[in-house]
Symmetry: C2
Subunit: 238 residues, 2 copies
């Protein structure tokens, strides 16, 4: 059963404003919902469409396909929709490397970067206030369960970076090749906006200008921010 | 000016069948159209919306915004739509490393991989017949101008790989760490399908099973195929 008010609530959670207000977010699909449950995230409601196998979710609300369709962000809702409480952000997390995002706007890129942080054991991801919200449905679709395993903070990046007094790495065309650059045990890797790169203000805080060597014909193109992050995290960890 | 038949032709090019039939494909946006012209790709027609700056394109057809909207794949058409002849595939290209895609289905992933090949100087990209078409509008949006600089072949992958007699690298959970694996000067890097990985048939042809080490808590998740390609090409070139 689902009430009209619950449907209204779930639909409202498509907007960041209401997600923040209620401290709730939505994920869809059996695989992702089960993974978040396994990671210990606290469910608010799990809705399962009638006819869909509801075992293994714990307590569920069975609803009609029509009701699910009303709440879903997907063209083809796939049976399960989970509403979860946002996990508490651990601000005292221990970490070695931190990834800092300066106005990354594309949900797919953020999702991929969260997944990369998880893979490479980066516990702390710090996002500027104008980075896309990590509970955006498209981000969640791209992160898979990694959203539960990486500590994600939204804050003023300048203040945050200044306070830490760690080496700050940023990628620039004229930077030192990553093959020649020694990577310390601790540091901050800043990745910039898709179109404009790292902002002027954050550039001033970068202590190590690095670059990923290009082997093809030189062009004006740069690498996509998510693939560049993949290469850099691999270099940091190797 | 644009005729009704031309509009019909351009709209038909959204489908692979008609792209192959006519040997034509569509790109949108001033930046991409100009880059393909600069790379020497032969234009069939360049349509520019009235009011939009048409300089620097060579010969153009000025059309109304309404006509452009009819032809465009974008919700918000952005002034320029170019129809290009598909470049001839050079089957005698010299190469060192070849990337081979086994049923990669997501257009964004293929686009990103083409861009990575361009960046890392991989001249030859070989796709299985069931890999998404490289002239799909979403692929082109993600490749940027790289589509003009990488030689892309669609063929039967098994036959192709067998003929070359090169070491064949594939990523598997139980593979040798890429940090321990020596990369030869020449080889084939096979990347598999988003959901199923490398197919049984191609797995039998893999001579070097490799893996990208995971540093976070071990999970069932794997890396996205495009980010894995980024890391592997960086390892091959470094």
């Amino acid at each position: 059963m689902v009430t009209k008010n619950q449907i209204k609530l779930v639909v409202s959670l498509k907007q960041k404003k209401y997600r923040s207000q209620h401290g709730l977010f939505v994920v869809e699909g059996e695989k992702l919902v089960k993974e978040l449950l396994r990671e210990g995230l606290r469910p608010f409601k799990i809705f399962v469409a009638s006819g869909y196998d509801s075992s293994g979710f714990g307590e569920v609300d069975q609803i009609s396909t029509a009701d699910l369709k009303q709440m879903s962000s997907l063209k083809q809702p796939n049976g399960v929709l989970g509403v979860f409480y946002m996990p508490e952000v651990n601000r005292n997390q221990t970490y070695d490397w931190i990834v800092a995002l300066d106005a990354v706007r594309d949900p797919g890129n953020l999702g991929t970067i969260i997944r990369l942080c998880d893979w490479f054991g980066i516990k702390q991801l710090v996002c500027s206030e104008d980075t896309v919200d990590c509970y955006n449905p498209k981000v969640l679709q791209a992160t898979m369960g990694s959203i539960a395993r990486v500590n994600i903070i939204y804050t003023d990046l300048t203040t945050y970076i200044k306070k830490l007094e760690l080496p700050v790495f940023g990628t620039f065309m004229d930077g030192t090749s990553i093959y020649a650059q020694k990577m310390p045990d601790k540091g901050i890797l800043v990745m910039g906006n898709e179109a404009n790169g790292i902002s002027k203000e954050i550039t001033d805080l970068v202590t190590e200008r690095i670059s990923i060597p290009q082997f093809g014909e030189p062009t004006a193109e740069s690498l996509n921010v998510a693939t560049a992050t993949a290469i850099l995290l691999n270099e940091i960890r190797r």
